[in-house]
Amino acid sequence: MKKLLKERLFEAFLDEVDGVSCVPASSTPLELRTQFSPHGLRFPLLHDGISPLFLQVNSSGFPPASSRFGPYCDNITGMNWRLPDGRMVRVGERVVKSTTGYDILRFLLGSGNRYGNPVDYVLRLRPDTGGGGIFRLEGVPGKLSEAVRTILHSYYLHWLESVDWLEGPEAPSLRVAVHCPNEEWSVFVDFMQGVAFRHGLSVDVQPGQNAVGDGLPDLVFKTTPDRVVSLARELANMGDIRCVALCYCAVVHVYFLGTDNMGARTQTISKSFAPLVEVLGGDWHSRHVVAPLTQIKETAWIAELEREWGEQP
């Protein structure tokens, strides 16, 4: 069997049938929208409306709509990747489903710049149905927490773009975003009003506003769905912090109120809270500091990969 003598790389494309597109990693949300909207498609996984895609991917793997569609690593199917010495390789595929060799794509995605940088992403797109909205539930925290459990165990969970617990200086609230065809909106209104009634909560319905963007988080914790709300509440108690807990993904996004001492604050908070999540096989991450390795053997494994991937033979 013949072998390739040079690397195959992705070229820019948009495949409307498969709903995949190869775009520069530096693309902005506006550029993505401009490119995909005319085809009735969208890339829903964005933390904000301004940051280039690679910054969004590196800040947290779990953007708001990951409740419905999964994290970035399930929605970026391939990459052109520049290795530290400048060589370009292709990782992953343009088809969504693949078991062809080791999963280097998911490993590299969001691994920082130790092994190089993304140049292009192949994005998995979704139909843009044009409708939807946001529900905001408020009430006694204990009742709100019960409402989270109801939603996470309901058949509707698969269709909710995000289920977020908001915790900060103001009273906590629950935000649920839906993206759906207009004719289905009333079904979701009935469901959410039912949840609110059952748990004695007030609900504010905002049709037409279905994009959630909280910005790039300063610090991220990953835990389990049954602990995510209490973790967000404890974190917010540290002061000058706003938290968004992605309830199904079990991720807490921490936003510092103010820009002073980001690195030091990250270190202090992560030191206090890391043991709580690590005991469950969870983890933390911040774009402001490099997290320490937790297994001694990792140092050797990383060195081996750096040697093999980093230098031309």
Partner: protein, 459 residues
Amino acid sequence: MLLRNAAPRARILDSAAQLAGYGSDGLGYKTFLPDLVVIPADAEELASVVRALHGGGLPVCLRGAGTSLSGGPVAAQGGVVVHTSRLKAIREINVNGLWCEVECGVNLNQLDAALKPTGLCYPPDPSSGPVCTIGGNVASNAGGAHCFRYGVTSNYVLGVEVVLPDGSVHRFGGPAGGRGPWREDWKRFMIGSEGTLGAFTRFWLRLTPRPEKAWTFRATYADLKSTERAIHGLVKHASYPVAIELMDPHSVAMVESSPMAVGLPQDHFMILVEIDGPASLVDLRAESVAAILRDAGSQDVLFGDDPEMRQKLFKARKAQGGLLGQISPDFLVQDAVIPKRALAEVLGLIYEEAERAGIPVATVMHAGDGNLHPNFLFDSSKPEEIEKVEAISKCLMERVVAVGGALSGEHGIGNDKSEYMGIVFGPDSMRMQMAIPGVFNPTHQFNPLKVFPERRFSA
């Protein structure tokens, strides 16, 4: 003796009759007899067995139910098969945390039965569900009919416990999912690694609410172009079907000639679609899905929300693989994934090549994912037929890569497709791939000659 001391409660098989049962997987025509089979009593014994074999002269091959279709869990270079059939405990189902912890030998239907009373489910559903193990599913990143919307195994693995070839035990992730997509997420290498990096002992899996209601649709089409049009319409539709399955006329004819018959016209393509979710939502969507199927040219669209109809249709679809064994001494199932715009082109190529070679072919497809399963029927006692089937496979794989597809979607590479890896990976990306066993299994003692043909064990 070494093994007996390491694992006193293990079963050790060494007679020819016993070993014969481990000579092949679902790729039945390629057989490789192991020298020995060890069946550890539990995870601790499994780790002891690995430590006892470390540094020895024998290759090690991990095996679950042996239902792989790509020549994965077989002793291609001889040595010891470690069979994980006794690691069958479901250790915990955490309903509030939406996760469960299972041992590697748990089979899918066993897990599904345990989850049913909780209202939760674990969605991947390969056709071998009644027998295949979670360990095998993770090793090959298995999918199934319903993964178009729900995703494949890798979307549901939160954590992996693995015994590396040096005997060290590592836990990557756990109920909280580990590193997720930040920092070095080692479990990503483990999922889909086909037994080449270590021995799995247990997993933490993400669970999700079981759907309340499903609508099932079946439509038949006289030609490939109309079939393709229907599939293109479905994958772009906002109803997000969970499954879009295709059976070609040969497969339909096979099912219709069996006790699984569901009354389909035998010279037509059949598309099977399912949407699921809350009743109030799927009831709204049913008619629009039927309209897509009709608009593509089907005069024969049936749909309903009757669970019995659903069960019957999916049973017929999943029975196709089993029926192949009744009509042919051997068959080879390919597992390519193609961009869906190339569906008619690639299926056309399969039919042309098979007809030219005089090899019957029956194709099923997870059409939503573009995941093709052509089944080539042949007699392995005739070397010329093996040659023809392998030539068709080669031609198919070259076209799949040329149109932007992948060699495998859910079966893995095994030793069946390893020789094609050179047309996928260039020199630098191949070196990146080979660096991974270089880290975890540098001598290739675990599952040699799989995934990459260069992976040969030398003691």
